[in-house]
């Protein structure tokens, strides 16, 4: 590394220190101390109490379901996109990215209005004399909100790896007598693993930590671990417990990251 490039990287190093390293340090400081400033592990072990463990379990369950649904929806779509001509697929990708230009909170609030008992969807169903759907303020609505908000983060990395698979590899498989199902499971799927891992991380991590979706679409009746942490900071003014629980959550996220690092050594699954 030349001294010039060192200087060029200085702003980024500074940025990381101010906005990543120092805040992380503060979370660890608060998480490992009590109100008097003495060292304690209580804020970490607090995850074992019934309410916290239940909230964490529910968060993991709902994020897992959402990630799975995202994957099942995104994979076929990414395959279709990867096989399209250039100008066609960029249009479809634009359609996927377009909603992300709008604020995430507004889009979630819109779902609330759509799903309400006397909301837009039910009004249309009533008009057509079809049965109503009552999923607002239930875990189903939360899963719907997660899938809706995070689906693009699954589609893009999958599309990225799938479009890079050399067509000659497929053709070789076919020449050697593999049918399309066999080709998919032996060639396409294994080669797309970096994208799958990256997509899973990008959906699972924000879904695990969300508190906005569960508040807006769950009617504050369903307490996820993100809600617990948020309330410790905003309502209970207990930054120590909030930080302690955040550290626990970080462990789950780091496990997920390690998994992706192992499977995605070349960083192929990185976003576009």
């Amino acid at each position: 590394m030349t001294s010039k490039s060192k200087w060029l990287s200085a702003p980024y190093v500074l940025w990381s220190i101010i906005f990543i390293v120092i805040p992380l340090g503060m979370i660890f400081y608060y998480g490992l101390t009590d109100k008097t400033g003495a060292f304690t592990l209580e804020n970490i072990t607090a995850i074992m109490t019934a309410e916290h463990a239940k909230a964490l379990w529910l968060s993991i369950l709902l994020s897992f379901i959402s990630t799975l649904i995202c994957f099942l929806l995104a994979y076929p779509l990414a395959m279709i996109l990867a096989n399209m001509k250039v100008n066609q697929h960029s249009f479809i990708i634009l359609i996927f990215i377009l909603p992300m230009w709008m604020n995430f909170l507004l889009r979630t609030l819109a779902w609330q209005t759509l799903l309400e008992k006397s909301g837009v969807i039910n009004n249309i169903l009533n008009f057509l004399h079809l049965p109503n759907i009552n999923i607002i303020n239930t875990p189903y609505a939360i899963v719907l909100g997660m899938v809706y908000n995070f689906l693009p983060f699954m589609v893009l990395p999958l599309y990225n790896v799938l479009s890079k698979i050399d067509e000659n590899v497929m053709n070789a498989a076919k020449d050697l007598g593999a049918n399309s199902v066999y080709t998919f499971f032996r060639i396409t799927l294994p080669l797309s693993i970096p994208g799958i891992i990256s997509g899973i991380t990008m959906v699972f991590v924000p879904a695990l930590t969300t508190f906005v979706i569960s508040t807006l679409l769950g009617g504050s009746k369903i307490l996820l671990i993100g809600n617990v942490i948020e309330q410790e900071f905003t309502q209970a003014s207990n930054w120590h417990l909030g930080s302690g629980l955040s550290i626990v959550l970080m462990i789950f996220i780091i496990l997920n990251m390690i998994a992706s690092a192992v499977f995605d050594k070349d960083g192929e699954g990185a976003m576009l």
Partner: protein
């Protein structure tokens, strides 16, 4: 005591903007006579009155909003953002006094605050500000039940009806610790300031028992949901009642027979306020009768400003039992007081149990 369902978004944006301003160091030089930084509930003022204040005094107002007392407190306490004027509720004011965060006010600088605010409101404020040294009442009201006449079988008069199974999935509760526990405490005839673990345990169990019947725990959204006929019964602040009735005439507001909370939101000045003089000017301006009536008409929360009440043109509202209930008729209305750190922790712990159940 606030409104608006997108205020979370506003808050986020304002935080981001504050951060940006701080980073770029573009310390806005303020108006010709400096500035005043106000931290108030969301949608709790007629924005026009702020413009009028700026025009008349040449003081620039930097205005920021919060959603609950609990979110306001850590922000003010940490000093992360410096504010001059804040508008907390009763129990939060006593907490701030206890923690030495408030500046004594000089009422000689605030003739309107002295003359226009009804004596009874200062009297009531003594519950949390014993010498009337720190706070000037801005809005007050009660907590009660708003119900939709077309969706219930009989008039709602009691908190107990929030436990009636025929209203399952038709009940909106408040998503804040004190207001939620207040309902259960009053149901059992306890004080809403109880810290007795046994009484709290009973209240908690009632809330857990009620949870399957509750459609959602909401704060500001209760307004829109009641207007839209999304639920039959909602726990709401009296100040929202006039507005919601105007939008949907089927709605009726009652103070349940078991009693309820009566609250006051008051202006206070922070001890380390950078612009204390301008802060007092701002508070006094808000107490001017023409400004107070403008705010009343905009936010529809009861005003303690007697001079402003005289200016209300609509006789129905001026004499409305909802906007201005005769407090002497009720003997079971209570003001929240600060419960101390342990009391707060107990409430929060139990609220978490209710929510996670």
């Amino acid at each position: 005591m606030k409104k608006k369902n997108v205020k979370t978004a506003i808050l986020t944006v304002s935080c981001a903007l504050t951060a940006m301003a701080a980073l770029t160091g573009c310390g806005s030089s303020g108006g010709e006579n400096g500035e005043v930084i106000v931290y108030n509930w969301g949608e709790y003022i007629d924005p026009e009155t702020i413009d009028m204040f700026e025009e008349e005094t040449g003081i620039k107002v930097i205005y920021d909003e919060f959603e609950t007392n609990e979110t306001m407190y850590p922000k003010v306490e940490s000093g992360a953002a410096s504010y001059d004027v804040v508008c907390p509720s009763d129990y939060m004011i006593s907490k701030m006094i206890e923690n030495d965060m408030l500046a004594e006010l000089n009422f000689d600088n605030m003739p309107n605050a002295k003359a226009n605010i009804g004596e009874q409101y200062y009297e009531q404020s003594k519950g949390f500000d014993p010498d009337n040294k720190y706070s000037v009442p801005y809005c007050w009201g009660t907590v009660g039940i708003l119900y939709n006449q077309t969706m219930v079988d009989e008039p709602i008069t009691s908190w107990a009806q929030l436990w009636d199974e025929k209203y399952a999935d038709n009940i909106l509760m408040q998503d804040s610790v004190r207001d939620a526990f207040m309902v259960a405490e009053k149901l059992h005839g306890f004080s809403l300031n109880t810290v007795d673990p046994e009484e709290l345990e009973t209240a908690k169990n009632s809330l857990i028992e009620q949870k399957p019947l509750v459609q959602a725990y909401v704060i500001d959204q209760v307004r829109d949901k009641m207007i839209g006929g999304e639920a039959a019964i909602g726990v709401i602040y009296s100040g929202e009642a006039i507005y919601t009735q105007r939008e949907n005439p089927d709605l009726v507001y009652v103070i349940p027979e078991e009693g309820s909370n009566v609250w006051i939101d008051s202006w206070v000045v922070l001890k380390d306020a950078p612009n204390k003089e301008n802060a007092e000017k701002f508070i006094d301006f808000m107490c001017r009768s023409d400004i107070a009536v403008k705010n009343f008409e905009y936010i529809t929360y009861s005003t303690p400003n007697d001079a402003a009440r005289e200016l209300i043109e609509d006789e129905d509202i001026k004499n409305s039992e909802i906007a201005f209930p005769d407090l002497s008729q009720y003997d079971n209305l209570e003001v929240y007081v600060y419960l101390g750190e342990e009391g707060d922790a107990l409430y929060n712990e139990m609220w978490k149990e209710v929510k996670s159940n």
